[in-house]
């Protein structure tokens, strides 16, 4: 599973050449920080963290994770890290959406005569089912329609 996780996050090419050439995890991490890009080093760090958390879950909670759920949490965590550390970019005024508040961490109404459709996906580990969802609301925050597939 650990190996699959490296594959899923697209880091197998980082892991493989170092197997057998570094003698400890410390050397492995140090080598990656020294020779790889910020993006790769960041993803490696978060992947190691997620694998560690998954192992703890097996031991303490008898809860098993798939490589895909580890991939998801790793990429999510990396995305959030980058989001938080991003330089603020100039606000773009779009015609369908009022950016006056300039905060995308709360749901905002679309402009009059526009609809807003929130979209997400969920991976259900137990039986490898993937669900897609979208929910449409109007500028008065009224529910219009939703779909799951």
């Amino acid at each position: 599973m650990g190996r699959d996780s490296w594959y899923c996050v697209g880091l197998l090419t980082v892991l493989q050449p170092r197997v057998g050439t570094v003698s400890s995890l410390v050397d492995f991490v140090f080598d990656i920080c020294r020779s790889e890009s910020r993006d790769i080093a960041g993803r490696v760090a978060l992947l190691l963290w997620q694998i560690w958390a998954a192992r703890n879950d097996v031991i303490w909670n008898d809860a098993y994770h798939t490589s895909m759920s580890i991939e998801r949490t790793t990429l999510d965590a990396w995305q959030q890290w980058q989001e938080v550390h991003k330089q603020p970019s100039p606000q773009v005024m779009q015609h369908g959406h009022n950016r006056a508040q300039g905060n995308n961490s709360v749901w905002e109404r679309p402009n009059e005569t526009w609809l807003k459709c929130n979209v997400d996906v969920a991976f259900h580990d137990r039986n490898h089912i993937t669900s897609f969802a979208c929910c449409v609301r109007d500028s008065h925050e009224q529910f219009i329609r939703a779909q799951t597939k």
């Binding site: 369908g96 995308n104 991976f123 449409v136 597939k149």
Partner: protein
Amino acid sequence: MTVLEGEAVALLEAIHFTDANKWNRVVFESDSSTPVQALSSPSHGDSKFYAIVSSIIYQLYLHSNFEVKFVKRQANMVAHTLARAAYSWASHHIFYSHPSYIEH
């Protein structure tokens, strides 16, 4: 299906859904930044992910009043909750009224 492919397919499914309902001024919001960024600067890969991204780009070209935006997960909770809950019902479901267990 990888996570990225899944997130791109979710967008495409939403676009098809709104198109089928003949709504033409729609802002789509996803809490996954990679597919949203790929729409404005598609690197040309021949992976399955970029095939899905190309379909989305084509749909956006057909519907000039469709916009796709990245938001934080906190702003996308309604879709987040719905996708997770979808596990327990039939494969395809359309809601015509607000599902009670989903917060406004």
